[in-house]
Amino acid sequence: MQSLESNALEPTKAELKGADTKTRLLRFLPVYGLVILTLGLILLFSILLPTTFPTLLNLRAIISDKAIIALLSLGAMIPMAAGRIDLTVGYGIVLWHILAISLQTMFGLPWPMAVAIVLGLGLLTGFLNGLLVEVAKIDSFIATLGTGTVLYALALWHTGGRQMVGLLPDSFYAINGTFVFGLPITGYYVLGITITMWLIFEYTPIGRYLYAIGANQRAAQLNGIPTRKFVIGAFMSSGFITAFAGVLLASKLRIGQASVGLEFLLPALVGAFLGSTTIKPGRVNVWGTVVGVAILAVGISGIQQFGGSFWVEPMFNGVTLLIAIGIAGYAQRRKGAKK
């Protein structure tokens, strides 16, 4: 897919050696621009809103609010690294959070069983996506739009338009509601998955193969990499993380309904795309994705405290994405022109 092709922009050690401070800063700007912007926004809002913005309460609110988007972003970036897009992250979470509750309320399963089934179904969906994309050779955008829409239809059919409610065990609520060192546990889930994914993507052959498949699948194949296996694996990982996010959402909302979840799709993809403009510009990367989600979270939180309306969130998401991609493209062309 053209839009996912990449061209890395990171400055090299050799380029930096012998460069003066100004050129160094200029070379690093595309790499850490988004990070600096995030810190700048935090500083700006802290000065303008000293009593409400830089508070533990606000940090908690942001983390508990955005952890699910962060997880979906991280999930979506796995197939993205291999040059595929996975739209089921947004549709899957609708069905998974409903099932995490209804399996308990309607079928009387203990919650660990319900969670295990949901996670298993997430893996299965990823496997199906992988088969459609790699075996049936359907473009990933179309294939996952199809499976995603089917998942959504299943959610509607299963709920019949009603809400899934019922008294659930406290231990189920604790999956989302626990605080560790004063911060929501969901933040630690994100941190744990981020570090694991970062190690895999940057420091193990698995990550290298996924990036190689994303850059040149034919080359990867010629070099003996089982590309089919890796692409299917990427979709399964993304499906698993989506299902996990669904469980968190269920535990957080305590209600399952088909009208909740779809709105996560676009911010999740925006986060991953934003991430491809920073840290390792030119390719989707783990910390970049986290920064992408963070800048959206910070920006939206600040604007909302100023009394921004309900439409501010998607507006901020969209504008930030366009600006970041625009700047990244500009930096790319300048680098290309210099060569």
């Binding site: 090299t12 050799a14 193990t204 850059a215 034919r218 070099n223 060569k339």
Partner: protein, 254 residues
């Protein structure tokens, strides 16, 4: 050049459905020699080397390596036997470093707590060593991505990937100079000569007869799926080879 061929293809025929791409083709390549394969489009050059590198299987005919019959079911079988190829569209992942590309699929790793982690430092030094020692190429930086390298340097990275395997004996190159400027072409031809000196059998597909006469010892001419002649560059001319390629009557003596 030794007396008996390192690689010998005998009576190779390849049919794709009703189309016969190759008809009873023989090919011999010797260690320490550059053999060029020339011919018009559709003459069967690519099919021939794809059979030699295990990508296709012949409909009829046999391949011998060092006198031993060779059965290859896939390209990896060919690599295991010491036959590798550098493709026209270089099989490089552009946003990875030269070292990452060189070791793609055969990464060097070290175990930390039972998990295999990439040994990036060793891959980088090994890549730099192979590029320098085997190909005489030094990159200004090993940390750049391959898409920022010149065409010739990318070619070198692709070749380095093949020659890193110590047991490589036959290297097939498909149009290695097609996308290069004059200077890069000269450098690539130098690389090919260096590989010949190291005792490899180099098989080269090229459209440029100038390049062929510059670097090759013998020229294998294909026309319409058949071998129409083999000439030694020392005793031949561009004119003669051109005649064979287009099938001019005076030279049509296969």
């Amino acid at each position: 050049m030794t007396d008996h061929p390192l690689v010998q293809m005998r009576g190779i025929t390849k049919r794709f459905g009703g189309v016969t791409a190759l008809q009873d083709v023989n090919l011999e390549a010797y260690a320490g020699e550059v053999l060029a394969i020339v011919g018009d489009n559709g003459a069967g050059k690519s099919t021939l080397i794809k059979i030699l590198t295990g990508v296709y299987q012949p409909s009829e005919g046999e391949i011998f390596l060092d006198g031993q019959p060779l059965e290859m079911a896939s390209h990896s079988d060919a690599i295991a036997q010491g036959i590798d190829a550098v493709y026209q569209t270089l099989a490089l992942a552009d946003h990875l470093t030269p070292a990452a590309n060189m070791f793609l699929g055969t990464e060097l790793t070290r175990k930390v707590a039972g998990i295999e982690f990439l040994d990036n430092r060793r891959m980088k030094s090994e890549a730099a060593r192979v590029l320098d020692e085997r190909l005489g190429v030094r990159l200004r930086s090993m940390d750049v991505t391959t898409d920022s390298l010149s065409g010739g340097q990318r070619q070198a990275v692709a070749i380095a990937r093949a020659v890193y395997h110590e047991d490589l004996r036959v290297l097939v190159m498909d149009e290695p100079t097609a996308a290069l400027g004059p200077q890069e072409t000269a450098r690539t031809l130098k690389l090919i000569k260096a590989l010949r000196e190291q005792g490899l059998a180099v098989i080269l597909i090229s459209h440029s007869l100038d390049d062929v006469f510059e670097v090759a010892d013998r020229v294998h001419v294909q026309r319409r799926g058949r071998r129409v002649g083999v000439v030694e560059t020392a005793n031949s001319t561009v004119q003669e080879v051109l005649g064979l390629i287009v099938g001019a009557p005076a030279n049509d003596a296969a």
